[in-house]
């Protein structure tokens, strides 16, 4: 009887530790999965914003300025490197865009200003040549 009681205490002690460890492992796994999911969402937003901005600087799209503001030389049938037409961004009606600003050496002009609901915003800036002047296009985009 006494030996059996001792074995039961062994088992109880070992079981408590086991369950505690399993609970802690599952809890930490859950935490890490949750934080990974958030991180992936954030990275995806950053990636999309970066790619969109890059596409905008390198392509020409007369229907959607966010897809391309590069200067297209129709005579040469090609897009001219680094030359941009940022005024086209005035047409942008995307609600996730918080701000579009053009900064030149002596001037700074805000083209668009919105108030999106999301607080998770990213400010990106790229440089190009517009009207023979170096121009920084700064876009603040928010995760909808």
């Amino acid at each position: 009887m006494q030996k059996g009681l001792l074995f039961s205490f062994d088992l109880l002690f070992a079981s408590i530790l086991w369950f505690l460890m399993i609970f802690l492992i599952l809890y930490s796994l859950n935490q890490s999965i949750e934080s990974s999911a958030l991180e992936i969402k954030k990275i995806e937003f950053q990636k999309n914003a970066l790619m969109q901005m890059d596409s905008m600087m390198k392509n020409f799209d007369e229907n959607n300025a966010l897809n391309g503001i590069a200067f297209e030389n129709f005579a040469k049938k090609r897009i001219e490197t680094a030359k941009i037409e940022p005024e086209k961004l005035l047409q942008v009606k995307e609600k996730s865009i918080k701000e579009i600003k053009l900064i030149t050496k002596n001037n700074s002009k805000t083209l668009i200003e919105n108030n999106p609901k999301s607080k998770e915003c990213l400010s990106l800036q790229r440089m190009g040549i517009s009207n023979n002047e170096k121009t920084i296009v700064r876009i603040v985009v928010c995760n909808e």
């Binding site: 001792l6 460890m21 802690l24 492992i25 930490s28 970066l50 680094a82």
Partner: protein, 116 residues
Amino acid sequence: MNEKAAYLTIEAIISLLALTAIIASQNANNQVNLTELYQVQKQADLIRVWVISENLNQDEMISDVNSMFPEKKTAIEFEDNLIELNKQKKYSNSIALKGFYWKNNKLNEIKLTVFN
């Protein structure tokens, strides 16, 4: 208390802790950082703009770098010139980008290095 059982429990705890540590460390290594890609894009912009500008004006180049990479240690190398900005800043890694252009029937190189 049974001594053998106690040893087995401690062994189990150690092995589970090791397993947890391995899982946690793998998760931390998988994190992606897009800031370097963004930095390369901005560096490429600067090099393209400078190459198109033809006349490389050192003051303008410094001002351009300051507006795109404020307060970062930077080096610009072109036509036997070396411009260094924020020399005293410490860094752990750097990204260098080169561009090439024709001038006076000669292929010239321009290199922009940004230290992080």
